[in-house]
């Protein structure tokens, strides 16, 4: 156990040196690191949100909302299909729960209607494995003329996957535009999206930007009655009441079907209105949008139309003259930031479905910095206590254990840096715990050496036996902890994962430093001193 081949010594020293070298960049500022020569490692540890400050937002696609919207669209498709010549008479067309349904009046034409509506089930292309073709919807017809469309399981799953994918792209475009942080946006499970923005110091703004559907639509204002009247009575067929964003909100009566939507936009920029000097958003349509816009404005001169964002009226200007250039302006008492955010949202496009925040954690930069300071202080004091205690208990061997412990700490930080694993506050706790437990392996060995010496062995032979007999125990003890760490990592999230990572890394570095590295130190000491009596 005490003989080391030269190459082994070299390897062990190299590992420890690598640990120190990869840890070093963490002691310097990014600026200082720039002046380092290229061959030195410059990576710094990744700090978790709890240490760095930042925002963690977990969104879920609002399934119900989406199904309702999709079913409404389906209803309008059914209407168009049945109205095609020769018309098929129907009644009771509408959304019922999570299904769209219609009743065919003339039962003799039921088969005809079924055949005509069949294409609406929308076969899915993603059916990779052949087999039964899968449709988005399932159509069922009963003998009394009722035809129902409802989602198939596969169809809904496919939809959700597509929505999540699309939403991630939209969110990325939005967040990239504000450009302050580098967020991590990823899919979680089937219908969730995780947005992590380390260093973000305005989580509220981030939330506003990410979570807004940002569906921009243009509606004509119905002037047949006022918004208040429509609220009190029932709004006429084909119209809807929407509130304005003002405080207090003001009701507008609008035509339900939008004339145009944000999909036709190609650009949106903030400028300042020359007369009022207020920030406004200038937008530009694509060709087909511009054509439609021109047509609408020509036909409706001197009538008000409303610019609506997510079912809220931003402004409702009166069309003064036909707008043929394909660009327009939204003004609505914006702050500069508000106008800027709206422009970003319009440029990045609308989310395909409503997203709901189901978990939010945001930590200010001040708290993060405090936590790092506290963690540093605790680690240093904890480490110092352990170091002193080990020297008191084992003398010269205690010093060796302490050197091994320091090597261990460097290796942990080095490994965390190289792996770019995230260090969280519980992670720091994991390191402190590892410092405490790391000496366990050395304690095991030293106690064993003491025993062997008591049993009458010579110094060198006792050391040798101590190391070899303790190995099995050290492995057993550490593997059990490793199992706990791996399971923690598998099942944990966020901060708990950070804890598991440092715990697991700590186990490997501990076995190396407390067993292999300390053994090398002891061997070198034995070789030089040739002790006949143990100082332990």
């Amino acid at each position: 156990m005490l003989y080391f081949a030269r190459w082994k010594i070299a390897l062990i020293v190299l590992v420890v040196a690598a640990g120190i070298l990869t840890t070093l960049p963490n002691f310097f500022s990014a600026k200082q690191l720039e002046s380092w020569p290229d061959f030195l490692p410059k990576n710094q540890m990744v700090l978790g949100l709890d240490l760095q400050g930042g925002a963690y937002l977990l969104y879920e696609v609002d399934k119900q909302d989406y199904i309702q919207k999709r079913m409404k669209a389906l209803v309008s498709d059914i209407r168009t299909t049945l109205r095609e010549e020769p018309r098929i008479g129907y009644t009771g067309l509408g959304v019922q729960g999570e299904a769209a349904q219609v009743r065919i009046r003339d039962l003799t034409r039921l088969a005809d209607a079924e055949e005509r509506l069949q294409p609406l089930v929308n076969p899915l292309v993603s059916n990779l494995f052949g087999g039964q073709p899968v449709n988005e919807f399932e159509m069922t017809a009963s003998d009394d003329g009722l035809i129902r469309f409802s989602y198939t399981e596969q169809g809904l799953e496919d939809r959700m996957a597509a929505i999540v994918q699309q939403s991630i792209e939209v969110i990325r475009r939005r967040v990239d535009e504000i450009g302050t942080t580098e967020p991590n946006i990823q899919r979680q499970g089937t219908d969730r999206i995780l947005v992590e923005a380390p260093g973000e110091n305005d989580p509220e703004r981030l939330k506003d930007l990410v979570g807004q559907t940002a569906q921009l639509t243009f509606h004509m204002v119905d002037t047949s009655m006022s918004g208040e009247q429509a609220l009190q009575n029932r709004p006429p067929a084909g119209t809807v009441v929407m509130m304005s964003v003002d405080d207090p909100p003001f009701p507008y009566l609008l035509e339900e079907t939008p004339l145009l939507s944000g999909e036709d936009l190609v650009d949106a920029q903030v400028t300042f209105d020359q007369r009022t000097n207020e920030p406004v958003v200038n937008f530009r349509f694509n060709q087909s949008g511009a054509r439609k816009f021109a047509q609408i404005t020509q036909q409706n001169v001197n009538r008000p139309f409303a610019i609506v964002l997510d079912d809220e009226v931003i402004s409702a200007p009166v069309i003064r003259e036909p707008i043929t250039g394909g660009s327009g302006q939204i003004s609505g008492n914006f702050t500069v930031e508000g106008a800027n955010d709206l422009a970003v949202l319009l440029r990045a496009g609308a989310l395909p479905a409503k997203l709901t925040v189901i978990e939010e954690r945001s930590i200010g930069p001040g708290l993060g910095a405090d936590s790092i300071e506290a963690g540093k202080l605790a680690s240093i004091i904890g480490g110092a206590l352990v170091i002193v205690f080990m020297i008191l208990a084992y003398g010269r061997f205690g010093i060796i254990a302490d050197i091994a412990l320091m090597a261990n700490v460097f290796l942990i930080f080095g490994a965390l840096t190289v792996l770019q694993a995230t260090l969280t506050l519980p992670g720091i706790a994991g390191i402190v715990l590892t410092i405490g437990m790391a000496v366990d392996a050395n304690v095991l060995i030293f106690e064993r050496i003491r025993e062997e010496a008591r049993a009458g062995r010579s110094a060198v032979s006792a050391i040798d036996a101590g190391y070899s007999r303790a190995l099995g125990t050290i492995l057993d003890a550490n593997i059990t902890t490793l199992i706990a760490a791996v399971i923690l990592f598998q099942l944990g999230s966020g901060p708990v994962r950070g804890f598991a990572v440092t715990l697991a890394i700590g186990i490997f570095t501990t076995v190396f430093s407390a067993f292999t590295f300390s053994r090398l130190l002891v061997a070198l000491w034995v070789r030089r001193r040739r002790p006949s009596k143990l100082p332990i």
């Binding site: 945001s362 519980p426 706790a429 003890a477 902890t481 399971i487 944990g492």
Partner: protein, 315 residues
């Protein structure tokens, strides 16, 4: 002279002490379980849903005023407490009825009462009803899975009596630690699960070291009665057990005192768990083996000659 926590020739009759330690543990476990089922844990927002807001005010905060202003918001159960320093305030709001969206309005409503004041929102955590249910489930699964995986590992490395003994010892530690959470009404959150799992790891680590020595001594002293071998093994490892506990506790106490308010309940649970873990590996782990009739010659390969694979695993 070097420090010796445990003198060299210590011979404490630990096996005899099981007459005290078994009833004591059973009592503590029953009390913990009773507390768990009758009083219940003080679940944090991770498992119960709700909102936590930590703010730093300009100068010492007037908690009473904040409390009365918050209660005017009609948010149900709202707790306001000092968090480490007089200008650091922690506000907890219970989960709002009305699904995920309702939780989101809490933060904006709480913000309104601090409008115009120089208040720094240091931390905002909102957990909706769906996520909290999932986190609770994942936490329970994590603890169960860890116990099971370790059970199999020890079974593979030792005899079955050891595996069962290790699991019972660990379960004892976990249950009593949960009992502490109930007793002190500590916030039981995701990091508490991490603390519990660490305690599992540590307690097993301790138990395995003792078992390792028992196995070795059972092979060495085949003629001695089991009780004697167990006593010897514990006495031999006693020095190591206490040394390691002490160093770990030193590090943890430093973390408890200097590590900041956020992880204090996490560290407290660990400190307690390590004390319990040390106790159980000395006073419970080995006596369990007597309970399960581990024979002194269980380690002798000749005895289970027909089960060749078993003897290899333990040889």
């Amino acid at each position: 002279m070097l420090l010796r926590i445990v003198p060299d020739n210590t011979h404490i009759k630990f096996m005899w002490l099981r007459k005290v330690s078994f009833p004591l543990s059973i009592l503590l476990v029953i009390a913990s379980l009773a507390g768990f089922f009758l009083v219940g844990l003080n679940y944090g927002i991770d498992f119960k849903g709700g909102t936590i807001i930590e703010i730093k005010t300009d100068g010492p905060a007037d908690i009473g005023a904040i409390r009365s202003e918050l209660s005017s918001l009609n948010l149900g159960d709202v707790q306001v407490q000092e968090f480490g320093e007089p200008d650091d305030i922690l506000i907890r709001v219970e989960e709002q009825p009305g699904g995920e969206l309702a939780q989101q309005s809490v933060v904006s409503r709480v913000r309104t009462i601090f409008e115009g004041q120089n208040v720094d929102f240091r931390r905002v955590e909102v957990v909706g009803p769906r996520v909290s249910g999932e986190l609770a489930q994942a936490g329970a699964i994590a603890v169960a899975a860890a116990l099971l995986a370790i059970l199999f590992y020890i079974w593979f490395r030792f005899e079955w009596q050891f595996a069962v003994g290790a699991i019972l010892t660990t379960a004892n530690d976990v249950v009593i630690t949960v009992g502490l959470f109930v007793l002190l009404q500590l916030d039981f959150s995701l990091s508490s699960i991490a603390a519990v799992l660490t305690i599992i790891g540590y307690s097993l680590n301790d138990t395995v070291v003792v078992y390792d020595r028992i196995r070795e001594n059972l092979r060495k002293y085949k003629k001695r009665p089991l009780t004697e071998v167990l006593d010897l093994s514990i006495n031999e490892t006693l020095s190591r057990t206490t040394m390691t506990s002490l160093t770990t506790l030193l590090a943890l106490v430093a973390l408890y005192v200097f590590g900041g308010e956020v992880i204090q309940s996490f560290t407290l649970a660990m400190i307690f768990g390590i004390v319990i873990g040390t106790y159980s590996s000395i006073f419970l782990a080995a006596p369990f083996l007597i309970l399960f009739n581990l024979r002194a010659d269980a380690m002798d390969p000749k005895d289970d000659g027909e089960k060749d694979s078993d003897s290899k695993a333990t040889a």
